[in-house]
């Protein structure tokens, strides 16, 4: 495979994840995202591009590919992120190179 731009989802598939199906470590109040947040910085700054808008303009998010950098937490001024914790022990991303 030669070097080319790679979609975020494909890049994430190269990483090792242990997804916590029981307890998501990031939780949104999408109502706040929709009504209180104009700028939606998370759409631009999440390295994994996990924050997206659907056709109706509602925020969609899945923490399964989260790289646990914390950028969304810092830029979320409208507080649409109601919970941001690190995943429970052993869950989340496991870097093999880092």
């Amino acid at each position: 495979m030669s070097i080319q731009p790679i979609e975020a989802a494909e890049l994430l598939s190269l990483n090792r994840f242990n997804v916590d199906e029981e307890e998501p470590h990031i939780v949104l109040d999408k109502e706040i995202c929709r009504t209180k947040c104009k700028e939606k910085p998370c759409l631009m700054v999440c390295p994994a591009v996990l924050y997206k808008l659907d056709k109706t303009g509602e925020m969609t998010f899945d923490c399964a590919g989260c790289l646990e950098c914390g950028t969304c937490r810092v830029v979320c001024k409208a507080k649409g992120i109601t919970k941001w914790e690190y995943p429970r022990g052993t869950f989340g991303v496991s870097y093999r190179h880092g």
Binding site: S2, L14, P41, M44, V45, G70, E85, Y95, G98
Partner: protein, 427 residues
């Protein structure tokens, strides 16, 4: 666990800071527990990737010799670029890797290095518990006496927060204030596998030697820059962006970074390689100014990046070495038998960490100039374009060429003069 059955020190986080602290304490016979949320030490950690070796020698002389490090850096490069063109300065110094001496710095992969370092601390007698997340601190009469983790309680004379840039623990304890989107960078990185021979040919390296390349002008004007480090059999290529600016740039940082891979001056360096991992991490960008006002309270000390010990002065970027130094300082404070908090601050001065950070504090002003990230790299490449373009037209003088490029980029002489003075003062 009962309060009587306690550790001397509990360290939160098995990164370089926490491990350096644990190693030093364990060697002194202290009863140390390191709690790490990743399945192995380093599995949650990402670096750009370079490590300045002196820090490991502070932990123990000669320890670097069998450390899990990558290449010895002998080539220091800075690239200024616009969309298609670039200027590279390549400073090569073989004495950075002299036979029989400690090489100045190595490229590094953190999942590999941290795991090695943690194993060393274990050999020295520290207990390292991986796969456990610390949920919070236990406080009694205003003093931190232990940690809560997964329903358990563990107690110690001292808790050391080495939990990295987001440091939920130090924040909970009121020591570290909230990060701001203006004074941090979000770094993204691909690890791209290539045969070691290919890497050595492309970067003109001897076997085992490496290059560090920092790039300016690849962030669409967003405060930040690109980086490339040659590992043994891979290249770490990445880019750092200030989130507050990236938020209204209109393009995802992932996309801007993908463009960097395809830049005519970068692509040939990674061509034929295979991306094997995509990482991201926050980094503090404030240097000395970002250090929290209080680095300790009764029963708790903050070390490493949780304590703001990171330095980006444009041409060198340091964090892992400072983390290790702060871990050693914390351990020495405990070993001294004095009140560990105030003693830790004194150690940070004696071990020259705080003076080092203070000495380069002015660079922050230089890096704050917004024109550093698009306009100036464009002026530089534009001037070079004029200098090296030869044809049938009568050439203009360099003076005139510079002036026209400055105007093309909508800069004024006044602006240039102001930035020049500001830049000169700050360094």
């Amino acid at each position: 666990m009962s309060e009587e059955d306690k550790f001397d020190v509990i360290i939160i986080g098995a990164g370089p800071a926490g491990i350096a602290c644990a190693y030093t304490l364990a060697k002194d016979g202290r009863n140390v527990l390191v709690i790490e949320r990743g399945t192995t030490a380093g599995s949650k950690n990402v670096t750009g990737g370079r490590f300045y070796t002196y820090a490991l020698d502070l932990v123990e002389p000669g320890l670097w010799k069998d450390a899990a490090l990558e290449r010895k850096v002998t080539h220091e490069q800075i690239m200024m670029m616009d969309k298609k063109t670039s200027i590279t300065i390549d400073y090569s110094n073989p004495s950075f890797n002299r036979e029989g001496e400690m090489p100045q710095s190595f490229t590094i992969l953190r999942a590999v290095f941290d795991e090695w370092f943690a194993a060393k601390a274990e050999e020295a007698g520290a207990v390292i518990a991986c796969g456990i997340k610390v949920d919070g601190l236990i406080e009694k009469d205003g003093r931190i006496i232990g940690v809560r983790a997964g329903g358990d309680e563990m107690y110690s004379d001292l808790v050391v927060a080495a939990d990295g840039v987001n440091s939920m623990i130090a924040r909970e304890a009121g020591l570290v204030t909230e990060l701001s989107g203006e004074t941090i960078g979000v770094g993204v990185k691909e690890v791209i596998e290539l045969p070691s021979k290919t890497i050595e040919e492309r970067f003109h390296l001897k076997p085992g030697e490496g290059a560090s390349l920092l790039m300016l002008g690849c962030t669409e004007g967003i405060h930040g820059g690109g980086f490339l480090y040659t590992n043994n059999e891979s290249i770490s290529l990445g880019c750092v962006f200030t989130p507050s600016e990236a938020a209204h740039n209109g393009r995802q940082i992932h996309d801007i970074f993908q463009d960097l891979k395809m830049h005519p001056s970068v692509y040939p360096l990674i061509e034929g390689g295979k991306t094997v991992e995509y990482g991201a991490h926050l980094v503090r960008e404030e240097g000395y100014r970002g250090i929290p006002k209080k680095l300790y309270r009764d029963g708790l000390i903050v070390i490493g990046e949780a304590a703001g010990f990171v330095l980006n002065i444009g041409y060198t970027i340091r964090g892992i070495d400072l983390a290790i130094v702060s871990g050693v300082a914390a351990a020495r404070a405990v070993i001294s038998g004095k009140n560990p908090g105030p003693e830790y601050l004194d150690e940070l001065k004696r071990i020259k960490l705080l003076p080092t950070m203070k000495a380069v504090d002015g660079y922050f002003d230089l890096l704050e100039i917004p024109r550093m990230y698009a306009a100036y790299p464009k002026v530089a490449t534009g001037v070079f374009n004029k200098m090296y373009t030869v044809g049938t037209d009568v050439p203009v003088s360099i003076k005139k060429g510079i002036w026209s490029v400055v105007k093309e980029n909508k800069l004024s002489l006044w602006q240039l003069a102001k930035d020049g003075i500001r830049g000169f003062r700050s360094i």
